[in-house]
Amino acid sequence: MILGLITLLFIALVAFGIPIAFSIGIASLAGIATMSGTPNTMIPMKMFYGLNSYVLLAVPLFVLTANIMNSGSISRRLIDFSIALAGRKPGGLGHANVIVSMLFAGVSGSSTADTAGVGKILIPNMVGKGYSREMSVGVTAASSTIGSIIPPSITMVIFGGLTNTSVGALFVGGMLPGLLIGFGMMFVISRIARRDNLPVMDRVSRAQFIALAKDAVPAMITPLIIIGGIVFGVFTPTESAAFSALYAYCISAYYYKTISFKDLPKIFIDTLKISSLSLFALAAASALGEFLGYYQINTVVAGFFNNLGGNEYMFLFIVILFFLFIGTFMDAIPAMVLFVPVIYPVALSLGIEPVQLGVLVIMTLSVGLVTPPYGLCLLIASTIGGLPMNQSFKAVLPYISVIAVVLLAVIFMPFILLS
């Protein structure tokens, strides 16, 4: 009864436009007030302890890396290199769009930064070269979803923080599914290219290719520092994030010479603003966790799944459908902050590996980035391409089907998670 009322209160607050972090906080306060013997000081205490985790430091550090890279002209360099790499294939600019998203994912870990950075350059370029607006917007938006799957991924750090799952294992787990999605999207593009007779780009000379590669390679080393450092035990995820930020500054300032020391205050302020939004929501959710634990919500959810037969596959399918629905109107981080603590213990009781659950949840929520009404990547790409949302959504559907196939692969072939 109390659980139902608090849930209704939360929904009402969110629907009324109260920020999600505050809605969580208010619902937690109301919930904790009903718990006998629990003081209300539990709210600030739990919020404080929710942030008191070393692994969460990786979130602002990865945002910092992305902001430093984006302040330079890294998108342009990665795009030029990708076009040189794949431009000669039919539909080459589409392939280059996917490749640059995979490279960008390894550098920034932010899907929206990818759509904005790459879209501004590639969408007009593709349209100018004879690609349809639908194709240009669709492939740009859809390929950006790879950003949260290929490491480093901010959503993976949040999942790790919420569940005490190894962030390193999640990073490794996201690598192959992310690459499979990228190559799957390139397969779709090659089919469309054959059907629509899409153009190829001019040949790039060997000397030009080497020059472009030389320009792009320093940025492409960033994921090697992060993943290599974690896998070989050189760094913890947080330390790797700090070193990737330092590396990003060094190459941007001394190799590309695109930023200087005086640009740093603005970069730090932007980093602080972006990071505080998701992490404040996470802090508030820690307070909610106390309330949910008291009323044993996990037991209620577990009982529901046991009544359905306690099948792990059924559980995973329901989780995917649920997060697909949630992702259409909620950002990935608040969605995870709210629901992962509820489903995680149930998944463990069904014998599901935390990394498998994490990668599935993150992949599913990445689809939300390209589905209306809250698909930020779709919104950005539609705006750049001057295409209505409904047409843009139709254009991303073939690529969503690729993500769906890889989701099935992660469910039935968890060995692709390499953990």
Binding site: A15, F16, A21, L56, P60, E239, F243, S276, A283
Partner: protein
């Protein structure tokens, strides 16, 4: 009021940025020291505490900028005075929450005030817990400013 909130926000962003620099530096020092064989225990505790301060200061400033994740559908459905009234009600609800949490935060800060850091026992935990009342009190100030702005808008429309 505008001047007051802009001074507080600027101060918070400056301190937040310094905290961000401190925890980046502490994390880098931790790795470097480990590889040159010098054991430093305090870096992680400093990094985490600076991180908590940075994030909560940033979160308070985001209240001023109305930037926290929210569904803006109901707000954008209306125009003029009606919209202002909705924004005022939203801000009042958040303000009540912030006021209550300010009181609870002061209580919890007092509880932990004389506890000591684990690796730097000369420092009091109270300095770290101080961020909780700072966050909620300054968020409250920003919310009052937001409400005031909307009231001015309504008065202008009448």
């Amino acid at each position: 009021m505008k001047l007051l909130t802009s001074i507080i926000a600027k101060l918070q962003m400056t301190i937040g940025t310094v905290c961000l620099v401190v925890f980046v530096a502490a994390t880098l020092i931790q790795v470097i020291m480990r590889y040159i064989g010098i054991s430093v225990l305090w870096t992680e505790e400093i990094a985490v505490n600076a991180f908590i301060w940075a994030i909560l200061l940033g979160a308070a400033v985001m209240v001023r900028e109305n930037a926290h994740f929210s569904f803006s559908g109901i707000t954008h459905r209306y125009e003029g005075t009606k919209r202002s009234v909705i924004i005022i009600v939203q801000n009042v609800i958040m303000l009540v929450f912030c006021l209550l949490c300010s009181i609870y935060s002061i209580e919890i800060m007092q509880t932990f005030w004389n506890s000591r850091w684990i690796t730097l026992p000369e420092l009091k935990q109270g300095y770290v817990w101080l961020i909780m009342p700072v966050t909620f009190i300054t968020s409250g100030i920003y919310l009052i400013d937001n409400i005031y702005k909307e009231i001015i808008k309504i008065k202008g429309a009448l």
